[in-house]
Amino acid sequence: MTTTTAPPAPTPAPTRERAQSLKRSLLILVAIAAVAACAPFVLPESRQSIAIRVLIFAMMAIGWNLMSGYGGMFSFGHAAYFGIGAYTDTYLLVTFGWSPWLALVVGAALAALVAAGIGYVAFRYKLRSAYFALGTFAIAEMLRLLATNTKWVNGTTGYHVPLLPESSWTMLQFGANAAEYFYIGLAMVVVCMVVTLLYLRSRSGIYTVAIRDNEDAADALGISVMRVRLTTMALSAAITAAAGMFYAQYYTFVDPDTAFGSAQSVQAIAPAVIGGVATPWGPLVGALILGPLADLTVTWLRTPPAFLDFLTGRSGLDVVLYAILLIVIALVLPKGIVGSIQEWWKRR
């Protein structure tokens, strides 16, 4: 096909550009990981939990961002997948002595399956927007109630990971505050990021964004909307389940509230929203901001300034701060920190 109407324009080489943008993203990721890898040398050992919290937030938010940011399917119930990851891990470990790595595979697959099931029903019945969000919230809450009242997953007690006398890579267990936890968590975040970046450039990933932007047009062009959505949901759930498994291994304990509580759903949403919904680095930035809040405020409230004396030893300030951050971001920076920077950079 040729034409006489096309004005002469510098034709960019899209093929090379695209490959470069992937390469650039991966390079940025390597740089971030390299800097992050220094954390154990800088952070005092007693502060390691902060870094771990950042990593867990990051994983959860990466998962949520894939489905709700890029996919536009607003999940209010990622605690369901987080909890499935955590419970599968501890259940298989406590009951059958399985390695957490094996349990990770099973947990991620199970979460993916559950997500696909939820998605199938929800989209078949055309559940959208706020209805979809409320539906996912209800499902996570149902799982919490079921776990609370079901004996074969120990009801309200939940599980303690049996402590081993020595460190073990196979059983993902090390001494308290061992740097291994951090490096394993970091490696998992990097893997989740690479998977996400590759997925977004795959056929299915491109379709995911197309469907979010305009479902009818995508359908009319031959994109199987249901299949693509379920794939994205499944991947998102699997990533979040990985976060759940790592959480259970690090804290060596899960119960229905820590696994399926609505707080976990919020912790998947908040970093992504604050960092920037549907931006690759948003979840990481958001996690980096929210992760340290809890420890910082606890320290600060141990000896607060005189006029805030009455708050000594109280808790809740961290969530107050991040709630304010969430509200402010939603009000004035709907694209989040990374999204707003990107926009500013483009308009410069």
Binding site: N214, L221, G222, A278
Partner: protein, 249 residues
């Protein structure tokens, strides 16, 4: 596929009806579209043209009747299955993938043909050149104006290489100077690739120039069809338009 298709018609619509809340948007509509032909659909606003497209392309399920594509019954199949069967449609109100650039829109469409990403990018480049989009192909489609979006809408469906194309007012909103290249492109696609076209259009000049057959819709029914010049002279058609200027632009 034409072997399994003795009638030679790419598209056969038989007795299709559709009503919304008791209002007949389509009533017993028949249509035959021979391979390689260009069919223009005209009619006053609310005559059911877009509903007809929605039923044929699978976006709406008809209350009764059948749609056969290349001899196969596709009634009630979802739009993406119909697209894979070789029929594509554009939307009257443009529906870009807003967060993507125009080029990425076209690439996304080209990917549905199943080839590699590289194939899709090459195919997209080709369509972008052919539709004259190259100058602004890397702009985010959210930022494009109507005329550009109309072209993007067309480019996107061309990228999936359909054998039959349903175009819903792709010329509306373009100034006359912008229409000619699009009309030329469509005529050329028919010549070069045997593309079958069904298009809804208000711009009579284009309808008269392109169409082999003109079909007139009024209140959900086909009230006339035939050669463009015959149809325009048909008194029923004139009445349907109630004195509206038919031959002008």
């Amino acid at each position: 596929m034409s072997t399994s298709n003795p009638s030679g018609n790419v598209l056969e619509v038989r007795g299709v009806s559709k009503s919304f809340n008791g209002v007949h948007a389509l009533a017993d509509v028949d249509l035959d579209v021979p391979e390689g032909s260009i069919v223009g659909i005209i009619g006053p606003n609310g005559a059911g043209k877009t509903t007809f497209f929605n039923v044929v392309a699978g976006a709406l399920r008809p209350d009764s009747g059948h749609v056969r594509l290349f001899g196969k019954d596709v009634t009630g199949l979802p739009p993406h299955r119909i697209a894979h069967a070789g029929m594509a449609r554009t939307f009257q109100l443009m529906r870009p993938f807003g967060s993507m650039t125009a080029r990425e829109n076209v690439v996304a469409a080209a990917l549905t043909r199943g080839g590699s990403h590289k194939d899709a990018r090459l195919a997209a480049d080709e369509v972008i050149d052919a539709t004259g989009m190259a100058a602004w192909a890397d702009a985010t489609s959210d930022s494009l104006h109507t005329a550009a979006l109309k072209r993007l809408e067309l480019a996107r469906v061309l990228a999936i290489r359909p054998r039959i194309l349903l175009l819903d007012e792709v010329l509306a909103g373009l100034v006359p100077a912008e229409r000619a290249p699009v009309v030329d492109l469509l005529a050329r696609l028919r010549e070069a690739e045997g593309l079958t076209l069904v298009f809804v259009e208000h711009i009579m000049q284009a309808v008269m120039k392109l169409s082999d057959t003109v079909v007139v819709f009024d209140r959900g029914r086909v009230i006339a069809s035939g050669e463009p010049t015959e149809v325009v002279a048909d008194p029923r058609v004139v009445e349907a338009y109630l004195g509206q200027e038919l031959t002008g632009a």
